[in-house]
């Protein structure tokens, strides 16, 4: 980055934790998850730039996407069985 400001890694620590869990603590998973998080953040910026939406809205979308992603984990791990 070429400059040591007082906000070098703001927010990346938090993102890293999410990435670790999304990737189920497996190296390949973490790689894929980090790409996804990067996409979420970049997508958020694109939305801000091209649709003149405030950053707070992109944060809402990021949070929602993560919720659904995390919730979907259950469906991945278990199979729904309807009790007659």
């Amino acid at each position: 980055m070429g400059q040591l400001t007082d906000k070098v890694a703001l927010g990346y620590g938090f993102a890293a934790i999410i990435v670790a869990f999304l990737g189920r603590l497996h190296p390949v998973g973490v790689l894929l998850a980090s790409l996804l998080m990067a996409l979420l953040f970049l997508g958020g910026e694109q939305v801000q730039q091209h649709m003149n939406l405030p950053k707070s809205i992109s944060m809402v979308f990021q949070g929602l996407l993560l919720f659904y992603l995390l919730g979907a984990d259950l469906l991945v791990n278990y199979r729904l069985k309807w009790n007659g």
Binding site: F14, P54, K55, S56, Q62, L66, F67, L70, G71
Partner: protein, 310 residues
């Protein structure tokens, strides 16, 4: 030191610590049941913005506090569903909630940015307020300070003197055992999470209605994370939460007074700003340095989802 100045500092300390105490007490109950909710920053933000909107629209701080309580609780229901029923990872879910909450609060608050509410007058407790010196500091305070003390009392009593509190702690330590004797672990955890979220929302509302009193995006400025850290450093004990919050607030206020007094201080301002965090960590770690105490007090099942059929 001038007696008046000391009173000012102590008074301001109580005020600064109160939103933290309220949120941290909620998180304490949350974590004692074994659920880690890292979304405190988001819940406090939502409580702050909707609390402010309600207080502003109804011209009543009480409506604002109730709104903060309700919004925090509702948000927590979502979180509980995700982490308890759907058994999603608690850490990641909490972080997602923090992002979501702060963002939604910023967006929802845009029409209300920088509006202000009329300041609320101090409450004078009869008789006690007339005590020399102590009376001014402790008993002529903002209502939210008394609220935080009442909540502290309730939480302490609940945890250590009530059967339900015992059940809560049991669920936090060993959910399998609690389940085996027929108790609903899910139910207890749901209630704990909702309570935790409601108090976080209340803490946020106190910030925007009494302390600031205004709403701008980013008002919470990391206080949710501080509340989370407080619970850990207080080894999940209510009184230490109180202590830690006042210590943090106290050092914060003291360093502001130091700067403003014109006394020559050779410590750089950035270090002074870090002092509250350092002091709180150091003191709390020192009083809990017995590793057995920490193991004893950290809820054993914290962060681990419970599956009823295992």
């Amino acid at each position: 030191m001038d007696s008046n100045l000391a009173q000012e500092i102590l008074s301001a300390t109580l005020l600064a610590g109160t939103p933290l105490i309220i949120a941290a007490l909620g998180l304490l109950i949350n974590e004692r049941a074994g659920v880690l909710n890292l979304g405190a920053e988001g819940m406090m933000s939502l409580g702050a913005v909707y609390g402010f909107i309600a207080a502003f629209s109804f011209s009543s701080p009480v409506h604002g506090l109730l709104a903060g309580l309700v919004v925090g609780g509702i948000t927590a229901v979502g979180f509980a569903f995700l982490t308890i029923t759907l058994q999603a990872n608690q850490v990641a879910s909490g972080l997602a909630l923090a992002i979501f909450g702060v963002g939604l609060a910023g967006f929802a608050g845009k029409p209300y940015e920088s509006r202000s509410l009329p300041a609320v007058a101090d409450w004078h407790i009869p008789f006690l307020a007339d005590l020399p010196w102590v009376g001014v500091v402790l008993f002529q305070q903002q209502p939210m300070v008394y609220l935080s003390w009442v909540l502290f009392g309730l939480v302490w009593w609940f945890l250590y003197r009530s059967r339900s509190g015992l059940l809560l702690r049991a669920v936090g330590e060993d959910p399998g055992a609690a389940h085996a004797i027929g108790r609903s672990v899910y139910g207890v955890r749901y209630l704990a999470v909702i309570f935790g979220g409601a108090l976080c929302g209340l803490g946020g509302a106190c910030l925007s209605i009494f302390y600031a009193p205004m709403w701008v995006e980013g008002l919470i400025a990391g206080r949710g994370w501080i509340a989370l850290a407080l619970v850990v450093f207080a080894t999940w004990r209510p009184f230490r939460v109180l202590l830690g919050a006042y210590l943090f607030g106290g050092v914060l206020i003291a360093q502001l007074f130091l700067q403003g007094s014109g006394i020559k201080v050779t410590v750089p301002a950035q270090l002074l700003s870090a002092l509250p965090y350092l002091a709180t960590i150091v003191v709390l770690v020192l009083i809990s340095r017995d590793p057995r105490l920490i193991r004893q007090h950290s809820p054993a099942s914290l962060g681990r989802p419970f599956r009823a059929d295992e």
